[in-house]
Symmetry: C2
Subunit: 342 residues, 2 copies
Amino acid sequence: MRPNILKMAGYVPGEQPRDGEYLKLNTNENPYPPSPRVFEAIQKNLTSDRLRKYPEPLGDSFREAAAPILGVAPEQILIGNGSDDILTIVTRAIVPEGGVLASLTPSYILYKSLAEIQGAHFLTVPFTADWKIPSPWPLQAHLVCVPNPNSPSGTFFDPTEVLRLAQESGGYVVLDEAYADFAPTNGLHLAQGKIIVSRTLSKSYSLAGIRFGFAVADRELVPQFIKVKDSYNCDVLSLAAATAAIRDQAYLAEIKAKLIRTRERLYNALLELGLSAIPSQANFVWCRSSGLPNQVIYQKLKERKILVRYMNYPDFGDGLRITVGTDSEIDSLLKALREILS
Amino acid sequence: MRPNILKMAGYVPGEQPRDGEYLKLNTNENPYPPSPRVFEAIQKNLTSDRLRKYPEPLGDSFREAAAPILGVAPEQILIGNGSDDILTIVTRAIVPEGGVLASLTPSYILYKSLAEIQGAHFLTVPFTADWKIPSPWPLQAHLVCVPNPNSPSGTFFDPTEVLRLAQESGGYVVLDEAYADFAPTNGLHLAQGKIIVSRTLSKSYSLAGIRFGFAVADRELVPQFIKVKDSYNCDVLSLAAATAAIRDQAYLAEIKAKLIRTRERLYNALLELGLSAIPSQANFVWCRSSGLPNQVIYQKLKERKILVRYMNYPDFGDGLRITVGTDSEIDSLLKALREILS
């Protein structure tokens, strides 16, 4: 067993209780159902012949459907078993043992685990006070992972900043756009040269259960990533679901608009409750209490069968990341918070 | 980009034509449908709530269902997105950059790709003339991958031989039992200490399309592998399908019996056609022609819309690996072979 594996703690995903008794506002799942087209597509593929045969290795049907929607070439798209698979593939292709994977902080804590699994050094650079990328970027890295919008803050920077980042860090950059569908713009058009854009269907497309993500990258890079991925990394039902979901942009626009309205309402209500919150461009809001400890609030919500994500960063402190639910779910949350904080 | 990635050729999976016009006897898919319980389980899980939420990270429902059937503890089971995912996880946990991954030869060519991705040395040891593990095992390795039954030969060795192999190679051993359900016995009971048994539902359970495999290992090892796997590596529909499939052992026994009967018929017919074939304990038969070149036979079958797997090993030569189909599919194959060879 490699010493880096024995030594590492391992990434701990948010709580996923098996029963349905909790209101889950802890892992940024979408409260709305997936597009009805997704169910039709899965039903259509639910045949003996589809299940017993291997799926398309490169997901060509998805690539051909997604390319014109994303404004890229099919050959620029790499399919993944969730965007965690994309991040894993890119890390394995780029970062050698003893190399450097860097990230901004506070941010997605999986980046650290990816570096540790690879036996690489993990270095972090704090965001600026207004949640931008520091200028100049202070260190060299084989790979820098930058989420935009960022988790847990929900903040957003101008995506073209990654051009500078790629130049100054001297390596590759993953622009992790897991939450980009909730933001005013995105960096898809930047996916060339050393910049790779990562996306997931877990959040905006309500498909966390089926595991589908993709990268958009330079067409020279994608064949290298294909060497690293498992041959059949996406299954036949996930591919069908993802293809149907990305085709239904009208449905995406509809639930996105609802979520953004609820997000703004949640943000304002948190401020009214006396919590400090950060304006968010994602499907969650980060907030902190200056009175009752954040962890106590988390615990008291959990007692009321409401799960939010308590997070504690050594160099940033702790707080609560609250997923944007439906309006009635957020009403329940706010009612509970009023009781707890009163 | 790491030099080992740029340099490697990449694993090329068997042809997966998108249309249904070919009789596919090339990638060891099962010709029979999955258990009817699989369809019921997928339908039951095809709800908005299941699709929009993350699946169980460790697949506890599958582990609890599978453990008593396999005669192991749930904590000994690691879930994988196909057994390729299992092989990837185990390799990443055990083999450092510059380390040694070894395999027998001729065998599953993915092992080489796994070593190359990891930046490790890939060493091979030929099977003995009667397809056993050489004694003594001649080299030290961090990890040795041994498939049993082996592909492409379909041959089988006494699984307890891996105890000796683990001792003599000084490292871990993956006993790759992708085809074990077609063999007279298996090595599940050996999954402790440094021996890891890998399984897939792609072959015997007719579920190549949904991507599900698992490992059985020492309960001290599984937590290390969990650190390396993606948090949600198996999706909600695959988990439901796999759980239903493994519970239906009666159905497995039924289609396995049919396949074994057809396998023996195929083997005998190949001999009658003047081909040299090896007795198989898997769901395929390896054969060679001493007349018309094997590649020409492959090509002529393909012209007749029948796909078999042409394989060529530098140290072993070439041949055809023919998947056991239904009786009528094998009739079609044999008819075509008779025409081609006459």
